[in-house]
């Protein structure tokens, strides 16, 4: 973890030096789905930030929790005010590494991204199977994983427990371009 610190310091300072070794996705998409017999809930965030350092294969992701778009206004209100408490925990982050990733391979690869996902004040280690496609001048990373609501200390009132699945399915897709300073 300690070797990640310099990279994330640069990330937090918005990197003043141009680097061909870094790629950025400013409009990454993260969506989640909750399927229950009572109702299905889907939300998506289309402004998720991610930076990859191709020299070290380190990846950082940051998203604003209040930027999720829901089908119904009431779902968004419950999500932000009662479950995620986005005023107290405005961001979710992921910091990790793409294992055995070869940035020079100009094709499709499937790799494991391993790191720490932090949301609602709770950090969990995750390993996510990720498809990596090389495109002209950049990469597309996409994948799906499942996570448990209870892992993130999210309190759901007993009355609404039937409306929200215990396991949430998360999809992501990031289009990376060369990092501009």
């Amino acid at each position: 973890m300690s070797k990640l610190i310099p990279f994330f310091f640069v990330f937090m300072c918005y990197g003043q030096q141009p680097s061909k070794e870094k790629i950025i996705a400013r409009q990454g998409q993260v969506s989640f789905f909750s399927y229950t017999s009572v109702e299905n809930i889907k939300a998506e965030n289309n402004q998720v930030l991610s930076i990859i350092d191709l020299a070290s294969n380190e990846i950082a992701v940051s998203m604003l929790m209040n930027a999720f778009i829901f089908e119904k206004a009431l779902m968004r209100e419950h999500f932000n005010e009662s479950y995620i408490e986005s005023d107290l925990y405005p961001k979710a982050t992921f910091e990790g590494e793409i294992l055995d990733f070869d940035p020079n391979f100009e094709g499709e690869q499937t790799k494991i991204v391993k790191g720490t996902f932090s949301m609602h004040g709770v950090s969990k280690e995750l390993e996510i199977k990720t498809k990596i496609e090389y495109i002209q001048g950049g990469y597309i990373l996409s994948g799906t994983f499942e996570t448990l609501v209870e892992d993130y200390n999210i309190n759901i009132p007993p009355l609404l427990r039937g409306n929200i699945a215990k396991t949430i399915s998360v999809d992501f897709r990031f289009e990376y371009r060369p990092y501009e300073s």
Binding site: Y14, Q27, Q47, M63, N66, I69, E71
Partner: protein
């Protein structure tokens, strides 16, 4: 007596309809904000907004406030099948203002191009590397007004 009962039944029926309508409004209201009609809480240039956040002034702008932003278009894209306009900050500044446009603004997509100066209105969601605005519309107010 019969007239009184009928009046009561009609009143009850209307009240029940009203309750159903209100419940429907609360539980099934789409997640849509009529931003075109909303009055902005603040008028800002993209430069000013980005400069404040780059200087670490994270509390400069209240989350969820409706803001009108004027700036030069850096990029227009349809990533994630959404119409998005990016406004640029100062020269050599990699941060920008990301405006996720409302679906009814797609008609303007072909009329805009990079370097145009534009005025947008949207809901401020926060700052990552860029300032993020959702539910954006092109403001009716003329430039220099």
């Amino acid at each position: 007596m019969l007239k009184k009962t009928n009046t009561f039944k009609i009143a009850f029926f209307l009240a029940a309809l009203m309750v159903i309508y209100l419940l429907f409004q609360v539980f099934f209201k789409p997640d849509y904000l009529n931003i075109a009609e909303a009055k902005p809480e603040l008028y800002l240039s993209a430069d000013t907004l980005i400069s404040h956040f780059r200087a670490g002034d994270q509390k400069f702008l209240k989350i969820e406030s409706i803001v009108e932003i004027e700036g030069s278009i850096k990029e227009i894209n349809t990533i994630n099948n959404r119409f998005t306009i990016l406004l640029k900050g100062k020269e050599h500044d990699s941060s920008s203002v990301i405006c996720d446009m409302q679906a009814n603004q797609n008609k303007y997509l072909s009329t805009l191009k990079p370097k145009d100066t534009i005025r947008l209105k949207g809901v401020f969601k926060g700052f990552l590397k860029d300032a993020v605005f959702l539910n954006c519309v092109i403001s009716d107010r003329k430039i220099n007004e």
